[in-house]
Symmetry: none
Subunit: 225 residues, 4 copies
């Protein structure tokens, strides 16, 4: 069939160029994430981003109207709701709540903490004040859903008698803080390492999680006196 042939030819001709065109934004966003995390938003020159993506300065602005919009796109791209899936996954969880929390931490580590996406948190801590609307966006898209998920897990543990009652708002932070610490330290050249042997994040996470579980099991303050 001629039409098919024509169509094939058309596709072949367009293929390479189009593939690049479609791949460009992603390549640029990857490069931008790398550099922003490494050097900070302000200290990263647009041209560097372009160069790392293998294109020229001008091309960057073909896809993103400004450096700030590029920043926003980096956030959007990488924080696009993973929470839908995770919320569903944990809603269907059958095991004990301590297992649930361990799995939650593991999933976070595998998908975010150990990947370069964790750099976004570093970015927000470093540059958030200079970009309030971005900070707000980050809070809405990432922080709030995370807090909600953790609250549901903790509440489940309390409801099932696995955890002693506890101020959920605070308890959530006991889970969040180590994650944030790992994400920031990872992208700050292990600034909080003691300079001897590097800390193993997976082991730290495991220990930290057990501490949290011990604390939740014991109930807050009961051994204070």
């Amino acid at each position: 069939m001629p039409s098919r042939l024509l169509s094939d030819k058309f596709c072949a001709v367009r293929a390479k160029r189009e593939r690049r065109k479609e791949a460009r934004p992603g390549e640029l966003l990857d490069a931008a994430l790398d550099l922003f995390v490494e050097k900070g938003f302000a200290a990263t020159r647009s041209e560097e981003v372009a160069a790392r993506a293998g294109v020229s300065k001008g091309t960057l602005f073909l896809y993103f109207p400004s450096k700030e919009e590029l920043f926003k796109a980096v956030i959007s791209e990488n924080l696009a709701g993973r929470f839908e899936q995770w919320n569903a996954q944990f809603a269907a969880f059958q095991g004990s709540t301590p297992e649930m929390l361990r799995e939650c931490v593991q999933i976070w580590w595998d998908n975010i903490g150990s990947t370069k996406v964790s750099g976004i948190t570093k970015l927000m801590f470093s540059e958030g004040r200079n970009f309030p609307e971005l900070a707000q966006f980050y809070r809405e898209q990432f922080v709030a859903p995370a807090h909600e998920l953790l609250r549901r897990i903790l509440q489940r543990g309390i409801d099932r008698g696995e955890f002693a009652p506890v101020d959920l708002d605070l308890a959530v932070y006991t889970v969040v803080a180590p994650m944030v610490f790992l994400m920031l330290n990872r992208h700050a050249a292990d600034i909080c390492g003691d300079g001897r042997t590097p800390m193993d994040p997976a082991q730290y996470l495991a220990l930290q999680t057990e501490f949290i579980l011990a604390g939740l099991a014991a109930g807050p303050g009961q051994r204070k006196p």
Copy 2:
């Protein structure tokens, strides 16, 4: 008498001026710390620092040869070690080790966490990569002594049978991480808040400390299966 009056006035003016003159570097460092913490190194203009210190642009460069040297001075100046005192204080501590850890956290909070000094940590996390020598300096002056102090406390607990045996290298991080989290979040416009009620750092610290103590008491991994 006019001449006397004038002379007195002149002396008064001169005295104030000289007092200010000697205070200049400190005022500039204070102003710089505030602004660097708030906006980042690159995003802070030299003129702003000078203005906040109440002097002109030129005067800043009279005391610090460059913006970068100013940054280094800000870090160095504020890292004046308090560990000598603290080490002595804790070497003489008589009570239980959990009490010791609680006091340690409290002292940190009162002297560092809740004060402007916490901004130094924010700065090191944000800009450390661009100032490797400073990062190393910070690790030596601040991180290493802190880790050592905490190690000694934890070791004391184990030695006295108050804590179960634990990997000290990892356990230290369970104490450090919440501190770092608080210091950074404080200077990042509560970027990790969920946007509802702001978290109370003191309450969070208390809960987090009890969790750590529960974990240390229980021993790691014992409830894992």
Copy 3:
């Protein structure tokens, strides 16, 4: 029959395309004239010209090697002298010289002043300094013949006793100036209007022509006392 239909369609499409192909340069010149007149040469983007002509950026440069050459072509193309015809027409004129002048003005208004061609004058006034060769070309092709035609008319009036003797060089400008004024004001968003009611160019022209005729009849300076 599908094939016939297709074929017909194809031919129709092709025919239209070829017709367009030949029209391309003209369409581009029209678009360029519009935009250059409206926004100036520097402020007009090549892509806009192409877009208004309904082609892509690349196509523009297929027909004109540079934006500057496009500008030159816009001027040259629209300066196609009509003076041969007009000179012949006025050489054969039979009526009175005032009638002749009125007709001259009318012809100018109908063919140039009220049409897009007037934009050329706007362009030369705005950009002439940046294109000296074009300015010279414009003077030769347009200004000089116009002045000569007007001189012949005025001389005829003097010769026939209809006009008092007058410095022809100056008198020509009294005819030219209102024309230039109208052409420029037209393309400058009525910048010389007082903001109340818009001026009617035809009425203004008529009045202005009568003033000129009155002046020519009276002779210059005679009432100066």
Copy 4:
């Protein structure tokens, strides 16, 4: 007196620098007017303006926050109302209205037409469309007062029987048009010269004025048939 001495010294020390500082904006505005008129706003580079004013690029932006603001300042600076004085002057005029008109034209020529202020009109014609708010400002500050002044003069002539009745709105343009023509042609490299001998604006103005007076005396249209 010491205080006087001190004050003198102070003034002497400051003098040179301050004089320059106060002169800078004016020098920059002059340079900008020259270049904008000569090359157009868009085609003039900021650095050129600075260079012509004898300063560096950065200094320009010390006094004007952007190129566009510089443009606005050029307009504002040079259009500062001269009409107060002129209106008063003509309100008190005692002679005949033809004399009044001649004087009006002369004053315009001496103060505007023959000076570089006339370049502003060129600017407005060339770039006005790209800066609508500036165009409006120009109309309000310059065009409208000028039209009103001319209307009053013409009306006086009619009232005193020196001029035949005429449509004032149109008649005003017969006076304005030659002025505009001269201002534009002057700044467009005599684009409307015929290339032979340059036209003498003063002589042209005189002749043109007499034509207008002849026309006004005769009344419009009366010799049409």
